[in-house]
Amino acid sequence: MRAKDRTGVLGEDRAAEYLQAKGHRILQRRWRTRTGELDLITMDGAQLVAVEVKTRRGLGYGHPLEHIDEAKLRRIQRLLSEYAAAHRMWSVPRRIDAVAVVLKATPGSVELRVQIDHLQDLP
């Protein structure tokens, strides 16, 4: 596994823990189709949520949230519709969330400091 993918998995783990603590029920992780992938699919109360997780080690290349653009959001929206269709959840209200995970190395320790930023209901 390459380093960047390891970072991604690590970030998704942390995001999933964070969302569970906030009351989300995780339905699926890394749901894949031929045209794309949804990082996390959860139920927040009665809402079906597609969560885009962006992970970065440090802020040297900008904040993770700055790297989610309009095209990405449209793709997630389409995939979420596909997911709902595949699981017969047409009538369930849906929304898109984004979770930014910034991993920072703490000097003199193997532990990583994690900073999570959660945005709900993106347009």
């Binding site: 989610i68 993106l122 347009p123």
Partner: protein, 520 residues
Amino acid sequence: MSMGRARSVVLIGMEGHLIEVEADIGQSLPAFVLLGLPDAALRESQDRIRSAAKNTGIELPRRRLTINLFPASLPKSGSSLDLSILVAAWAAEAHVAGTAKVVFLAELGLDGRLRPVKGVLPAVRAAAQAGAETVVVAAENAQEAALVRGVEVLAAEHALQVASYFRAPGAVEVPADPAQEIQRVTPGSPHAEPSAGGEAAKDLADVRGQAEARFALELAAAGGHHMLLMGAPGAGKTMLAERLPSILPPLNEEESMAVTAISSISSGAASVTRLQRRRPFEAPHHSATAPSLLGGGSRIPGPGAVTRAHCGVLFLDEAPEFPRSVLDSLRQPLETGRITLHRSAGQVTYPARFQLVMASNPCLCGLNVGSGTQCSCTVAQRRNYLYRLSGPLLDRIDLQVQVERPHSAALALQQPGESSAEVARRVAQARAVQTERLAAFGLSLNAEVPMNLLSEQLRLPSKEVRALDAALDRAQLSLRGYVRVLRLAWTISDLFLKDHPEADEIDAAMVLRQSAGVRT
């Protein structure tokens, strides 16, 4: 609270408009939205503001930041809104508080340093008139801002100082250097220096001989008359004209404010430190275009030479070399004392009440003086040369004087002429007399007196004006020329502290009008 407010001022021409800056932080992906007709320079501010905030240590949130500039319909430009936008954003994040009524006027550097901006004086004055009590400016602009009375001026060098001054209770500690606190500048404090003279002016004592031209210059200063100096190359036309500001009375409070405000918007940022008392002197080269003289530029036009010469002297050396259309474009500001420029983005009016002094050679070769025997120009050339000055323009020039080349006898005296200070004293006296007489008609200078006033309330006894009437009857003088001779005669009599002009003054005025030999 995710709303923050601050204020700033944008200038349209000389006019300042108070702007309310609102910042809203939304729960959405990071973006910077600027509303309210910003121009390109203002749009660029978003990058400066993000970097400045980051390098200051109080980062803006990774959210959608919407900035609204109110009133939204007013086109806004320039970088002077930078600081107000940053402060409004900080207020939205509750880093700072109490900024809603404070006016911020500074550009931001990427490191968070405050940079000076142009036009602080008119902007702060507009803010004060709109009821603002506190203004924050860059340290370099502090003295300029403090010229406006009735406003508290705070000078900062870095955005951090602003953040710590307005720190909201409960907000994170600002990593500010305690040695660098925001400075409160008041007109009385050592930061603000009262008005003083600029560099030494050229003195009339340098002019040797030239009795007639000196007298004409004194008349022009006393009565505010526009003047045409005609003379051979090297006769001293430019030398005389450059010394006119030194014998004019200093600017009064109101004029001084206007002149300083003009130099604040037209020269570089942070060049104004005190009120200007000396009258400005503008001498554009004869290659000048109409926009450079009158003001111009796309969107909102900037001021030109006529505005920079407001309350002072506009000197056109080699006047016939100016394009005729450029010269004639001066007629409107000469008449109204202001210039209105129209563009699709809107119109601006600048003050332009200046005293026009033109210098000219008598002909192409410049030697058509005295008997004119040395002149090599043809009659047609001579005529065409002076015809470049149009009739309607010459019509507004009260004084048209011949400047003689100095004679060896006059130079040999090696006597310095009368100094500017002495002449200025007489000029001030003559102006006081005029103001006393003309105040009832809402005027202050003889040059402004209209024809109907001269023929009614200020009518002279017919025995005094007999010679003048005769000249009019013999068609040596047009009716307009007649009026100008009368105005000049009044100034001469004021200079000699007489009650009204008599035959001698009228004779002298006729000589001074016609000595240049330009058609009347």
